[in-house]
């Protein structure tokens, strides 16, 4: 591909120029930079740069207690912080061997799926905005805001949730919350159908996306693509189905795949995944039962406030928990979850202290962004914007 980028229709063919997009540019999602060498309008060669929002999360993971690190996981993929919270809590619980109550698991699954829906809504919406379809974005964004409203009822925050605690959840879902989610699911379904009718068969949309920025199955394996981007190219892997955690094994859902791996396929896979996630949420809501959301393990259970204020032991427990933290037994594990964009992994090495020895975060976007240069080689510079939007790279997850 590298040598065959001539375009006879391009009057600027054979004129070379180097352009720099980013780090702050509306078409680059977050602070990312791409430098491309163009032949006329066609990208001949390019390289990507990132790290502009590097916050040293892995270093902080070695210097903060396991409890304190929860807030940093919000800021990985900030479009779907709930999914990151859930994965991180699972990783630590697995090292400690904690069994958490059923209700907490169901709520976590609902959270993860809601995160998937709202992240996909913003991904396909922003992708459409980048290609000129602004109103489409607003349909999805409205639903996203509605979702934030009931997420706020759950944990008091909208974007950076920090909802999950190691060994449970900080709050139980309030009275009537399930019904509210159910109503939202029904509305979102209609909105997604409407969005589908609005854009999928649109001629301009098809022209801008079909057979643009193709990344086939072999490339996906080579470049470690996961999640919807890999499934759009026919790499049929979904860790919810293939390495099921929580209660995913008991639920029925399809894993949508496509074959071409172009921008359109990545869009249509995400759209279908929203529908599947909404189904999963409904199934979870049918199965969820009242009960506690805390694992009663003294190591991780944060004492209730009335115990803290009224008993000596409770106060000591409170201070020990927040100042020293709890020891995690020696061991190491790589815990992965099918997060919104693909395999989100936490590789935690513990030496038996309240702080991790190594906290490695494997964000899916890093590998997706790595494939971008290859993906857009030989494409028009304007299609780079479409390609970048379609793989949904999130700067917070790349830079960590």
């Amino acid at each position: 591909m590298a040598n065959a980028v001539h375009d006879p229709d391009d009057i600027w063919d054979d004129a070379r120029s180097i352009i720099n997009i980013g780090p702050t540019h509306p078409a680059m999602h977050g602070a990312l930079r791409m430098v491309a060498k163009l032949n006329g309008e066609t990208i001949e060669r390019s390289y990507c740069e990132f790290g502009f929002t590097h916050r040293a999360k892995e270093k902080l993971g070695e210097n903060r207690t396991y409890h304190q690190f929860i807030v940093y996981t919000d800021r990985l993929n900030y479009c779907s912080s709930l999914a990151n919270n859930v994965t991180y809590a699972m990783a630590v619980e697995r090292l400690m061997g904690l069994e958490i109550p059923e209700r907490a698991i169901w709520i976590r699954m609902i959270c993860a799926e809601v995160a998937r829906v709202i992240d996909h809504l913003i991904c396909i919406g922003i992708n459409a905005v980048d290609l000129g379809a602004f109103s489409y974005f607003l349909y999805g964004y409205h639903q996203r805001e509605e979702a934030y409203t009931f997420i706020e009822k759950l944990c008091g925050a909208r974007l950076t949730t920090s909802f999950v605690r190691i060994g449970g959840l900080i709050y139980n879902a309030p009275e009537g919350w399930e019904r509210e989610v159910e109503a939202w699911v029904k509305r979102t379904r209609e909105v997604v159908d409407e969005m589908d009718r609005l854009l999928t068969d649109n001629k301009i949309w098809r022209k801008r996306t079909v057979e643009v920025a193709i990344f086939n199955r072999e490339d996906c394996i080579k470049y470690s693509f996961t999640g919807p981007n890999a499934r759009a190219a026919g790499l049929d892997i979904d860790l919810r189905r293939d390495q099921p955690c929580m209660f995913y094994k008991e639920l029925e859902f399809d894993v949508p795949t496509a074959q071409n791996g172009d921008v359109f396929d990545r869009y249509i896979v995400r759209l279908e995944e929203i529908r599947q996630s909404l189904n999963i949420i409904l199934q979870c809501l049918n199965r969820i039962k009242p009960g506690t959301v805390w694992c009663e393990d003294k190591r991780v259970r944060i004492p209730d406030k009335d115990v803290v204020y009224n008993t000596m032991e409770g106060l000591i427990h409170h201070f020990k928990f927040f100042m020293t933290g709890f020891d995690v037994p020696e061991g190491e594990a790589y815990t992965q979850f099918e997060a919104v964009n693909g395999e989100l992994g936490f590789y935690i090495v513990s030496k038996g202290h309240p702080r991790a020895h190594r906290m490695r975060i494997r964000g899916p976007s890093v590998y997706h962004f790595q494939g971008l240069s290859k993906m857009v080689e030989g494409e028009k510079i304007a299609d780079m914007v479409a390609a970048l939007g379609s793989i949904n790279v999130i700067a917070g997850e790349i830079d960590r």
């Binding site: 040598n3 060669r45 080579k222 790499l235 293939d242 190491e332 790589y334 490695r360 494997r362 790595q370």
Partner: protein, 193 residues
């Protein structure tokens, strides 16, 4: 601690699912690479979630290639490469988390590296290793032999030191206000990616 005993419903049942596959694979691997494998740690004995194979640094690439291409193994997907600073001799461990897209199981390969030593690059096996290895170079200062473009990745080119080494201070701020200029050499058609 024995993690395997504590594999619970909410984290997946893949120990029981893959235990037999791993057993035959490790046996075969032990016979094929008698001298190259230093140590194997398996979940029933050690506190880990998947088998960890410690291999000699020189044999790393051949074992990775074997795991990728041998029919009974098929670890064709590179989940992640990372490193840890062990603060003793040898100082670093480079960690390869592999995944099989057909069998859906995982395995972990580790190799021990002394401070200042090089590791062979896995870019020819998986192009995805490129940025992961650059990140390890950036964060730990481990060099990869045969890497096409070993530069810093998260940090600025002007940054001094390697931040994820345990002796790098937590607040070791180095602030650069000007971005790096465009590196036209990387856009030459002769340059490898």
């Amino acid at each position: 601690m024995d993690i395997r005993k504590q594999v619970l419903t909410n984290y997946g049942d893949w120990f029981t699912r893959f235990g037999d596959i791993w057993k035959t694979q490790l046996l075969q691997l032990g016979q094929r690479f008698v001298t190259e494998i230093e140590l194997i740690r398996t979940p029933p004995v050690d506190a880990t979630d998947v088998p960890i194979i410690f291999v000699k640094k020189n044999a790393l690439l051949s074992i990775l290639l074997f795991l990728k291409e041998e029919p009974g193994f098929c670890y064709d997907f590179l989940s992640d490469i990372t490193a840890t600073d062990e603060e003793n001799e040898p100082r670093f461990e480079v960690v390869y988390n592999l995944f099989s897209t057909t069998k859906f199981n995982r395995i972990r390969i580790k190799t021990r590296v002394k401070d200042g030593e090089d590791v062979q690059s896995a870019v020819d096996i998986w192009p995805a290793a490129n940025w992961a290895e650059r990140e390890i170079f950036d964060m730990f200062g481990i060099k990869f032999l045969g890497h096409p473009d070993l530069r810093r990745i998260l940090m600025d080119e002007r940054f001094q030191g390697h931040p994820l080494r345990k002796d790098y201070p937590l607040r070791g701020y180095q602030i650069f206000t000007e971005p790096e200029p465009v590196n036209a050499e990387l856009l030459d058609s002769g340059a490898r990616k």
